[in-house]
Symmetry: C2
Subunit: 398 residues, 2 copies
Amino acid sequence: MMHDHALSGESGPWAWPIGFRACTGHGGLREHGDDISIVASERPATSAAMFTRSLFAGPAVVLSRAHAAGQNLRAVTTLAQNANVATGRQGEENAAEVVRRVAGVLGVPENEVLIGSTGVIGRPLPMGTIRAHFDGTAERGLAAFTAGPQDVARAMMTTDTRPKTAVRTVGHARIVGVAKGVGMLEPNMATMLAYVFTDAALSPTDLDRALRGAVNRTFNCLSVDTDTSTSDTVAVIANGAAGPVDPARFSEALDDLCLDLTQQLARDGEGATKLLRVTVGQAGDYSQAKRIAKSVVNSPLVKTAVHGADPNWGRVVMAIGKNTDDTDIAPGDVTVRFGDIEVYPDEPEADTLGKLVGIMSQDEVDIVITLGLGEAEATVYGCDLSAGYIRINADYTT
Amino acid sequence: MMHDHALSGESGPWAWPIGFRACTGHGGLREHGDDISIVASERPATSAAMFTRSLFAGPAVVLSRAHAAGQNLRAVTTLAQNANVATGRQGEENAAEVVRRVAGVLGVPENEVLIGSTGVIGRPLPMGTIRAHFDGTAERGLAAFTAGPQDVARAMMTTDTRPKTAVRTVGHARIVGVAKGVGMLEPNMATMLAYVFTDAALSPTDLDRALRGAVNRTFNCLSVDTDTSTSDTVAVIANGAAGPVDPARFSEALDDLCLDLTQQLARDGEGATKLLRVTVGQAGDYSQAKRIAKSVVNSPLVKTAVHGADPNWGRVVMAIGKNTDDTDIAPGDVTVRFGDIEVYPDEPEADTLGKLVGIMSQDEVDIVITLGLGEAEATVYGCDLSAGYIRINADYTT
């Protein structure tokens, strides 16, 4: 492993935590710009990771899942634009070769490297240009590792319109997250790659518990179009350089950071012009609250109404009602609000219609539902559905 | 009940079966054109019906479900443009009054009348103009009952772009169906009203069995946007005027007629430019075949790819893979075809790409999947997702 403390531990919001460094470069995956990134810890680390449940998980996920089992990942590499999924045995060999080359560049064991791949399915990786990139990186050595979190987040983008990063502190430690993802964000994490790096010292057990809790409350409450990616990966790497922290406080900070990234992902959903936040309260249990909230946030008719700034609460009621197995929900006990204005069952006065349209026209729209059943509550995050989604996805070819 | 045989039993494909007649008129539900219809049998009849499972089923559904229990419905009335859902006690009273007036016009018991209502949720029915319409109809009596199936189907339309009717014969009997529906067509029938009238004589048991079978194989295999309506209703009324028929042959003819209507509904999905047909074969059982087919037909990424005539089989594989509970599906045993060209696992030669784009550019696109697990097969029907869907639904206000 390389050592050059001058390059790590930079101060400022966009620097990595102590002991991490990164490099980005162009590997021919897209026409212009950086499309391959590596983020690595100089010292051994503790890790936790979660992956897509897709039946067609790609070789990057299969390989990374095996490596993550050791709970000692210390590096993450990402290839943008190409998911390397459904690419057969050659795809598996290519993923393994990328990991081997990254491990070689860093001087770490292969099984401490996680690989993420995102983009088109079913097209082989352009190994010629990828190899050239890694040859160049190996030659430049440390000098190549000057990228900050924004550079890495940018190199991970596919149809994202902006890089997504977030930073939090807990005691003396810092936590930095980078993420990408725009479509297929549901359920169970979806096409999202999110990596979190921290210099806090945590046991594998505490780190794993913190990550599972955070993912359940944040990324798994995110839904852009109900499609689930073959490549989703969320990982956290803790190298301990800043010393131990209180696990409970770390967990809170990680939740908060992941929620920040989740809202950035929702807001940048393909074609999205608004962040849509749906909160369901007074549910029988948390899973019911989340299920009902998701059916509202995912309803194409609700999403288009939000896009059109139309306070069409009838569609919200419809979307609640389609959960036909939730027979404990009594229509008479349900309430629906847009922002702070109740629209069901007490329809607003005619003179509040202008105010309602105003609420629906903001770039963050809140729909708040109570079921009158219990005390559980969940919030999910999504976006409106616009002609931009169609444009992006009808033109994005294999 | 009125009697005027001169008006019933017309010949030709667009006439009603013997003993049925219909009237349409303008009741102020939309700005121009007919928006209320009645179809009725002159003689007592046998009936079967199925309704939405939505938790927020409207009063029309509640009332009709009670009436349908008698299995002797003989008339159907439909109000277009307004679902009369989530309209409180007044909504219930209005639905009951409409039924009472229709029963009065026809001279039949109220509990032999089915009422369907479709359109905006949460807005009271305009009872003033509706009453005026029924007063006029009562005054004109028989003279008002001159509408054919196309007239009725047109009076039922909301954002439908064309009326939907179908006709089949079985023995000496005829079967005529009318339907409306464009969005919210999933799951379990969705905003669809479909009524079937026949002069065949069938027992309530045979009729019920035939309807349930047909709905399961046709309307319940239809999916436009995953939203489920509060108003779905499918009913069949058999008045026996043409005498008995073989129940098995009737069942076949009903299946065929419902499939015809289903494809018309799919093709007229909001903003649809293409009919999308997804067949899943070699499934472990029928419900698995249907579940996988639905996740493909509903995937926004598949729908937009079909819209863009993009043979993006990676998205089909993704949509299969998101059924994370179907762990018996092995990616290596799955095949995917567009039309008759296999695209997975054997990727087509480069020189067939033009042919593939040709297949994707037709106004009917078939995606055929085999799972390699068993012998069950299901076909589901949907449509592409276009900017037109957004336009229609972002502008369709409460």
